[in-house]
Every structure is written in structure tokens, then in C-alpha cells.
Amino acid sequence: MTMADGWQIIQGNLDAFLAAAGVTVQVAVFGLAIGFAGGVLLALSRISSFKPLSWLATIYIEIIRGTPLLIQIFFIYFGFGAISPLLNFNALTAGILALGLNSAAYQAEIIRGGIESVPKGQMEAARSIGMTRMQAMRHVILPQSFRLMIPAMTNEMVTLIKDTSLVSTITVVELTFVGKQLTSRYLEAVPILGFVALIYLVMTFATSRAMRYLEHKYRIPGYGEEE
């Protein structure tokens, strides 16, 4: 086995790799989107003054964060169908849903943390000049908290991209699945899995660079630089 042999296997299966990478991106993007929408709802529920809503959100977040993602994926793919035929999802849908519902719990905590790290005086100043709670949230609190959230959100995005490999266990034909398949066909783990890992690395690196750019672009001059 030479470098050239390994390269030949990769070249010969490039289409399969690219298609699989496409599926990985699809799972990651939809998972993050569901996670963000769910995260905003959960975060607002948690800080709501309506206690039952706050409790429900807390319970959901604790269950998701306290159990393995792999079990959650299995639960949605194998378990939900048993509850109701309507919840009988195909592998891709189940995988996206599981990652999204999982990420929602983590993003909720990031968003809540972001909102709560905006100084209390900001809301007071907005309210005392006559803005409604909604106006204050929208124009004063959220714009500041989204900036504060960027580093933690970057972590969550990178984690989720890597966690998409878990949906290979429920037969979603994404990168890890294809990597395993080709490895058992050619019995050449190093070049194949190495290439798979490289593709993940490109995705996570591009994501963190893009987020770094956003952080820089939306940096507030003088913010956090006071003594």
C-alpha cells in the first residue's frame, strides 16, 4: 500500500465522498436551524415569568443534556414509530430531528446566558424612557446578547457538525457511513478515514473562521474595553 494507492481509492470514490459530504452538510444545517428556532423558544420560556412554562423548558433542557445523544437518535428513529405511525420517520429526517432537538437545549442555554449577561441597567434605561418590554428586547437586549453569544455558538456549531457522524448508526448515508463502507470494501482504513476526517476538519474550520469574521464585523467599538 503506497500513498498513490490510497489516493487512487479516494479519487475513484470522489463522487461518493462528495455526495456524503452533502448529506452531512444538510444534516448539520437543518439541525442547527431547528436547534436555533427551538433554542430561542426554550430560552424565552426559561426566562418567562410564567412559572409552568419556565419549568417545562428547564425539564426539557435537563433531560436532553443529561442523556446521550446516541440514545436520543435511536429513540427518535426506533422509538417514535412505536408511539404513533405518524412519527415513523425515515433515517435522514429522524437524524436531523434528533440533532435539532438536542442542539435546541444547548442553544437555549447559550441564548439565555447571552440575554442575562447584558447589564440589567440596559433594560431599565429602555423601560424608563418609555419603551415596551418587547421593544426593549428587540432593539436593546437581543442585539447586544447575539454579539455576546457568538463564541459559545461557534462551539455549539462545531460540536454539532462533528456529532452528525452519529446518524451513520441509523443508516443515514453521510460521511462517516460512507467512510466505514469504503473501509470495509478496500480494507484501507488510514487513507479513507483520514480523508473523511479531513473533510470534517474543513467544515469545522470554515465555520469557526466565518463566525470569527462575524464577531469582528459586529464588534462594538469600546465594548468591554472599559476598566
Partner: protein, 254 residues
């Protein structure tokens, strides 16, 4: 100063965690009057100020603004607050907005102004506090004194009927307080109704129409600053003034 009443607080009570901070405060302020509230830390003066616009909800009592109660559920408290704006000890400028945008936000959101009009109004307000050159600076790029002047500009741009100041110079380095006090003086001489919680005794003496001394949740004494500062009637007032006037530089009371 006119005799017409701007705001009246009736029997305001407030407790935090079983500790009674305000034990029944009554105070009436006339239009164009400047009232300074002084007193030791923990006397409840800031809490009382915050009860006036219900940023802190009083447990008991009533506030009447221009003769109308602002307590009931039918009251549009946001509308009321936009006419009696507040300036805070820690400035509380919106940190993600420039000085000008800080002023424009409420003009657009609360007053429903068009952008151009709000822009012109904001610049005019900045000019009045001497900071039109800093329109595009962010709060983090301004000194404490400048931030507080922007906060005052943000307040007066609303053309409020009254401005409440909550220890506006307490967070400032001594050499920066005068620029803020200067702006406040101008505002007072321009006829603005002002309630000022302050530790600046010289300001209270020079600018206030009336000084209110609070201690342990009650108004102990109130009256003309010349009388309060030279001949306080109550022993607690005397003790307090003796303590604070000792470390105060400047001329003795006239």
C-alpha cells in the same frame, strides 16, 4: 416655578425581602420646581425615585402625575414614563449604539418619529450638552462624564415634562462631575422640572428650590436649601450635614 402640581407621591411603601426601605413617603413637586433629595446611603432615596415611574413597583401608595393616578392596569405606563424620563448613576447608555443612535432609538420607537426628524433632534440635544462632536462615538469610547451628558441628552430629546436624576455624578471621577452638574444647572435654569437624588451638597444648595432629607425610609425634613443647610431643625439632618459638609471643598453656605 409655578404652583401647579407636576407629580405627587402618596404614602409610598416598599419592602425588599422583609426589610422596609420606604415607610410611607408623601411628596408633591410643582411644575418647574427643582427638588434635591439628600440623605445617607440606604435611606431609600433611590428606591423612592424609582417608585415614581414604577420601575420599582411600590407595595403600597399612589403616584399622581399631572393629577392623574399612574397606578392602575388601565394606565399606559410606557407613555407616562416617556414624559418623566430618568438619568441613572451608571449612565446606562445602550452600549451597542452610537451617542446619536442612543438618542434616536426612543424618538423613533416611542415618539414614532421619522428617521430624519429624530436625527436632527438628536444632534440638537447633543449640541445642548456640548457633545455634537461625539455623535458617532460609542459609549465605550466616551469618558464617564461624556456618557452621562449623552444620557442627559437622550432624556431631554424626549422633551419630557420632568427629568429624574438618580445620583448622576456618583460614579464619576471628581474632576468630571462639574461638566455634568453644569449641564444639569442649565437645564434647571431653563425651567425643567427636576427631581435629583444626589450627594452633591453644593449643587443642592445652589440649584434646588427645595431640599428633602431622607433617612431610614422616611422624609425627616424638607424645605428651602438656605434653611436646611444653615439651620436644620432635626437632629438627624444636622448630624448628616455635619458629616458630609466636612469633606466638601468650596465656600461655606451663604
Amino acid at each position: 416655578m409655578s404652583q401647579e402640581e407636576m407629580i405627587r407621591a402618596v404614602n409610598i411603601h416598599k419592602s425588599f425581602k422583609g426589610h422596609e426601605v420606604l415607610k410611607g413617603i408623601d411628596l408633591s413637586i410643582s411644575k418647574q420646581e427643582v427638588v434635591c433629595i439628600i440623605g445617607p446611603s440606604g435611606s431609600g432615596k433611590s428606591t423612592f425615585l424609582r417608585c415614581l415611574n414604577r420601575i420599582t413597583e411600590p407595595d403600597e401608595g399612589e403616584v399622581l402625575f399631572e393629577g392623574k393616578s399612574i397606578m392602575g392596569p388601565e394606565v399606559d405606563i410606557d407613555e407616562v414614563r416617556s414624559h418623566m424620563v430618568m438619568v441613572f448613576q451608571s449612565y446606562n447608555l445602550f452600549l451597542h449604539l452610537t451617542a446619536k443612535k442612543n438618542i434616536m432609538l426612543a424618538l423613533e420607537q416611542v415618539r414614532g418619529m421619522e428617521k430624519d426628524e429624530a436625527d436632527a433632534r438628536a444632534l440638537d440635544a447633543l449640541r445642548r450638552v456640548g457633545l455634537d462632536g461625539k455623535a458617532d462615538a460609542y459609549p465605550g469610547q466616551l469618558s464617564g462624564g461624556q456618557q452621562q451628558r449623552v444620557a442627559i441628552a437622550r432624556a431631554i430629546a424626549m422633551e419630557p415634562k420632568m427629568v429624574m436624576f438618580d445620583e448622576p455624578t456618583s460614579a464619576l471621577d471628581p474632576e468630571l462631575t462639574y461638566e455634568v452638574l453644569d449641564v444639569m444647572k442649565k437645564l434647571a435654569y431653563g425651567g425643567m422640572t427636576m427631581v435629583v437624588v444626589t450627594h452633591e451638597m453644593a449643587f443642592a444648595r445652589d440649584v434646588a428650590d427645595r431640599v428633602v432629607f431622607m433617612d431610614q425610609g422616611v422624609i425627616v425634613e424638607e424645605g428651602d436649601p438656605n434653611i436646611i443647610f444653615t439651620n436644620p431643625q432635626n437632629e438627624r439632618t444636622r448630624q448628616f450635614l455635619k458629616r458630609v459638609l466636612q469633606d466638601e471643598p468650596g465656600p461655606p453656605p451663604a
